[in-house]
């Protein structure tokens, strides 16, 4: 059955995951199946937008398969979905055990607090990766049918970018619960940082003075320089920064979680 906290937590995530899978596949299906109509449309009205906007949302390439997926999925709906999923799981997995007091008995076994954190974080990351696999598989399969001309490499790279965005903001939410035990505070902090990061990403593209600071926002690394924009590129180095940041955020709060009072 459940041999450890990791497998038990995966089971906790299972029911919600089914809903997320259905929602994701439906979204991808709707976007991809609209492609044949979009492809042949006259998109010249998009030229009225400023050049920066056209670049941000891949408007110039909207008549190509990758450009279309970028504008409709990878720079819009999917980042939101992955960040919401990541924050939701990150804020819930540890805090729920503490808020409902099931953690007391868990920690009365020889299980260490570090191991509890690690298993919970690993389960949340597994959920995000699984959701990434769903996105990859559904786009790859449906784009093939719709003859969109997107490569497996592009799809994998763009899906990975979504996973990493969710991972980082999920890690922030998780870290807040490790520090405070409070789910609501974790959601508030992580969601505020996500909105701030996205706003800064847009500002940096539109305001010249901020251009040199664009590296500071995770969105730049995930959707600003990745294959989601340039369909021909491989998996960019910027991705590893997102993964490292997520690991660092969780590792940094581990000593505090080991020392603080449980169940405040």
């Amino acid at each position: 059955m459940f041999s450890n906290v990791y497998t038990k937590t995966l089971r906790d995530l299972r029911k919600g995951f089914i809903g997320w899978t259905i929602g994701t596949v439906a979204l991808v299906g709707f976007v991809v199946l609209s492609w044949p109509f979009i492809r042949d449309m006259d998109m010249s009205f998009l030229d009225q937008y400023p050049a920066e906007m056209r670049e941000l949302f891949s408007f110039d390439a909207i008549n190509t398969g990758p450009g279309y997926l970028n504008s409709q999925l990878f720079t819009s709906m999917l980042p939101i979905m992955f960040i919401v999923y990541g924050i939701g799981a990150g804020a819930r997995l540890l805090a729920r055990e503490e808020e409902t007091r099931t953690m007391d008995v868990l920690l009365s076994t020889p299980l260490s607090r570090s191991r509890l954190m690690l298993d919970k974080a690993a389960a949340a990351a597994t959920g995000l990766v699984a959701l990434g696999v769903v996105v990859f598989a559904s786009i790859w399969a449906m784009a093939g049918v719709a003859d969109m001309g997107v490569s497996a490499r592009y799809t994998a790279g763009a899906s990975l970018a979504m996973v990493l965005l969710g991972l980082l903001y999920g890690a922030i939410a998780f870290a807040v619960t490790a520090l405070t035990g409070k789910r609501s505070m974790a959601i508030a902090v992580a969601a505020s940082l996500a909105v701030a990061g996205y706003v800064f990403y847009l500002m940096a593209a539109l305001v010249d003075g901020l251009e040199s600071w664009k590296w500071i926002t995770p969105f730049h690394h995930a959707i600003g320089v990745g294959p989601a924009i340039d369909g021909s590129a491989g998996i960019p180095l910027g991705y590893s920064w997102l993964a490292i940041a997520a690991v660092v955020v969780v590792a940094a709060v581990r000593p505090v979680f080991r020392r603080r009072d449980i169940g405040l």
Binding site: F2, T102, V105, L107, S108, P110, L111
Partner: protein, 313 residues
């Protein structure tokens, strides 16, 4: 009795060199509030220790510090020779714990939950879980969320006992149990002691632990008032009595009777306090024609406070 001789006596009960629980001046403060204030106690191996006190006295806070869930503001505690904070994982291998407000995952059945904890512990014979569930009359195939409060508490008791731990720390274990199951639980506690294992259980009701505990510690407002063997405690129970005589009360005779103090005569009525047995005072008073008699056995806290007062004076 001075404190030092009392703690020596407690030591003497020990059956093993390192006590099951050794608490030294443990303190927990939250800002200006002191929840536990310099509590020290020794629980020898192989005894049942009743940790008593009214609600809010600091029992649960002490227990959560013993389990390493709360960091002490001051002082230390050792469980089976391991520091309860810095070596908590080591200590937890040989400990069973029932929290004060026990709860499990509502969506799991009791069996799924107990198997999960068994896997985390790794040293559980499933046949023992089945035996405990039969003795406590609990079906294991029902989801925790649908169980009554009493049945949920049984799941908590089973998870604390199932790996036959060396030391059990139980916070108000009988909460919600019906009397029959309560008796069965106390039998299990007795068997655990007979095997040389140790049980530390808290309660706010003396009667609940006086039959099963060897030693009781009484906590009030975060301070440990005393630690005593139960048999010596019963001798020291304090009664406040009011006797009404049909003639002039024999004040001097009453004052000389064993255990009597604070005799106040008010016409035909006498108020007095008896420590221990009331047998002698009743015997000497009877020939003088007792018209009526009321005797109040004070509640738990008052008993301990009554005992405590002579020691500080």
């Amino acid at each position: 009795m001075p404190l030092s001789s009392r703690s020596r006596r407690i030591h003497d009960i020990g059956v093993s060199d390192s006590p099951a629980i050794l608490v030294d001046q443990i303190t927990k403060r939250y800002g200006d509030t002191t929840a536990v204030d310099g509590v020290s106690l020794v629980v020898p191996r192989g005894v049942v220790f009743g940790y008593l006190g009214p609600n809010g006295a600091g029992k649960t806070t002490t227990i959560r510090m013993l389990l390493g869930l709360l960091a002490p503001t001051g002082g230390t505690a050792q469980l089976l020779g391991h520091d309860s904070w810095s070596e908590r994982e080591k200590a937890h291998r040989s400990i069973g714990y029932l929290p004060g407000e026990f709860t499990a995952y509502t969506e799991l059945t009791s069996e799924e939950y107990l198997r999960y904890l068994s896997n985390l512990r790794g040293d559980v014979e499933w046949s023992h879980v089945v035996e405990l569930s039969e003795r406590l009359d609990l079906r294991l195939d029902v989801r925790f969320g649908t169980l009554s409060h009493g049945n949920q508490q049984k799941v908590g008791i089973i998870q604390a006992f199932m790996h036959r731990p060396e030391l059990l720390i139980l916070d108000e274990p009988t909460t919600g149990l019906d009397p029959l199951i309560q008796r069965e639980f106390l039998t299990i506690v007795g068997e655990t002691r007979a095997e040389g294992r140790t049980v530390f259980m808290s309660s706010h009701v003396l009667s609940e632990v006086e039959d099963s505990a060897d030693i009781v510690g009484m906590l009030s407002a975060g301070r440990l008032l005393l630690e005593k063997r139960v048999d010596s405690l019963k001798e020291l129970t304090v009664h406040h009595m009011t006797l009404t005589f049909d003639r002039l009360p024999p004040q001097e005779i009453l004052e000389r009777a064993a255990g009597v103090r604070d005799v106040v005569v008010d016409g035909l009525r006498v108020r007095l306090t008896v420590e221990g047995s009331t047998k002698e005072v009743l015997a000497v008073a009877a020939p003088f024609g007792i018209e009526s008699l009321t005797s109040v056995e004070p509640d738990l806290e008052a008993i301990f406070l009554g005992l405590y007062r002579p020691e500080v004076s």
